[in-house]
């Protein structure tokens, strides 16, 4: 699997793309592959404040329900509504089109310990 070098990663298999003080968040290719066919996604409303590690939504495959954990502390400023209508996008393009939320950082330190692509690849390999 290919984990883009411009993203940061969590142990819970979210990715974070950091542009200034806005963090775009999605789930990793490993997450979508482990889940299988994703049939439902529940995302937060714009304006919700999140602490790093808070659950900000769920994704459901046919068999399982998985919580989503925020990689950053901040406020939700944009939500990808297309995911709700077409959750299968999460299987097709998890690192791209199927981003989930954009979070405006209120605590820049909260993203300091995210993994880079290399560390995340090794972490995923260690799970097998």
């Amino acid at each position: 699997m290919n984990y883009p070098a411009n993203l940061k990663y969590t142990k819970e298999h979210e990715w974070a793309k950091i542009d200034g003080n806005v963090v775009t968040v999605g789930i990793t290719d490993h997450a979508q592959s482990s889940l299988g066919d994703i049939v439902f996604a529940e995302l937060p409303s714009v304006g919700r404040t999140l602490k790093k590690g808070d659950t900000f939504g769920v994704v459901e495959s046919i068999k399982a329900v998985s919580d989503l954990y925020s990689p950053a502390t901040g406020k939700v400023v944009e939500v990808n509504a297309a995911i709700g209508d077409e959750p299968g996008q999460l299987n097709k393009d998890p690192h791209g089109k199927a981003w989930m939320v954009k979070i405006e950082l209120t605590d820049p330190a909260s993203i300091k310990d995210l993994m880079d692509a290399d560390s995340y690849s090794k972490y995923v390999a260690s799970l097998k």
């Binding site: 066919d37 439902f40 769920v58 459901e60 046919i62 329900v65 709700g84």
Partner: protein
Amino acid sequence: MLKRTSLYEEHVKLGGRIVDFGGWELPVQYTGVMDEHIACRTTAGLFDVSHMGEVHVEGAASEAFVNYLVTNDAAKLAINQALYTEMCNHQGGIVDDLLVYRRAKDRYFLVINASNTDKDFAHMLQIEKEFRQANPQASDLRISNESSNYTQIAIQGPLAEKITQKLTKVPLSSVKYYWFTEGALLGGIPAIIARTGYTGEDGFELYIPWNKGPEVWRALLEAGTPLGLKPVGLGARDTLRLEMKFPLYGHELSEQTNPFAAGVGWVVKLDKGDFVGKAAIIQGKQKGLPQQLVGLKLLDKGVPRQGYSVFSEDGKTQLGAITSGTLAPSLNQAIGIAYVAKNQAAIGTRLTVDIRGKKLAAEVIPTPFYKRPY
């Protein structure tokens, strides 16, 4: 120590994602639940169900014994005919559901759930003891757990007959639904070829000697792959049965469940003579069963899951709980099976399901959820 079927290596080779399923290492999926589900509905699916348990009941008293053991009427079976039934305890609760095949006047073949095999067999031995006490003349009755001697492969779907026919000279079109034949596969492998299944599709369940599993599995894949046959894992096996509202032990059925509450009263033959649990089942029915199993669809967006609470339409009164739920791949609709209070079980009744603290709208709908087009 996890158990493996004779087909474990085949699953690994096919890229199956292996999980622990009630102590068995089995594939939950190969290419994907959705893909495998649709293959079974449109062409055919191949399932390893060797984890199921098989029990032989033999001897002159086998008819009387089986009929005392199960709720359906096994005495009415012709040779080469099968039936679906419940097996209850003396309290009228369901120990397991099973298929009963009659191989001869004095020979029955019982197929039970994998996770219940040990419990079921112990129950059967207990009932055998009681039966022998009441029927001292039944000295030649023999009951044996033969689970480790069989590989069971199911092939299900509109093309199942066409594909299976390539492996045998037995004319399969003459085997009717819930009948079976005994014949050879691949020129010499003895098989019980039964037109039964757990998907709502046409198809067969094949019982063959344990060590012949890989040979038959590979031959079916070779014969069927060009026609669209795909191996199907446990994930799609569950969504296929759920679309039919076929009950599953541990979800809809338990040792506390009266068969009439579970919607399987049709396999309880109260007019056939005494059987284990009969008095308690009748008593429960007369007292009035508080809950009934219903099929529902979610009107709001979400997926009902086992254990979620079901409430009245206004969300104020709890009526029961979901026993199984999924997004139905054939219908692209979230569906669930639930026990609800009897006065809220009519088709068209509006309910709510508590999903992560939100009460989402649902409606009781007719079942099976899916009806095959052929």
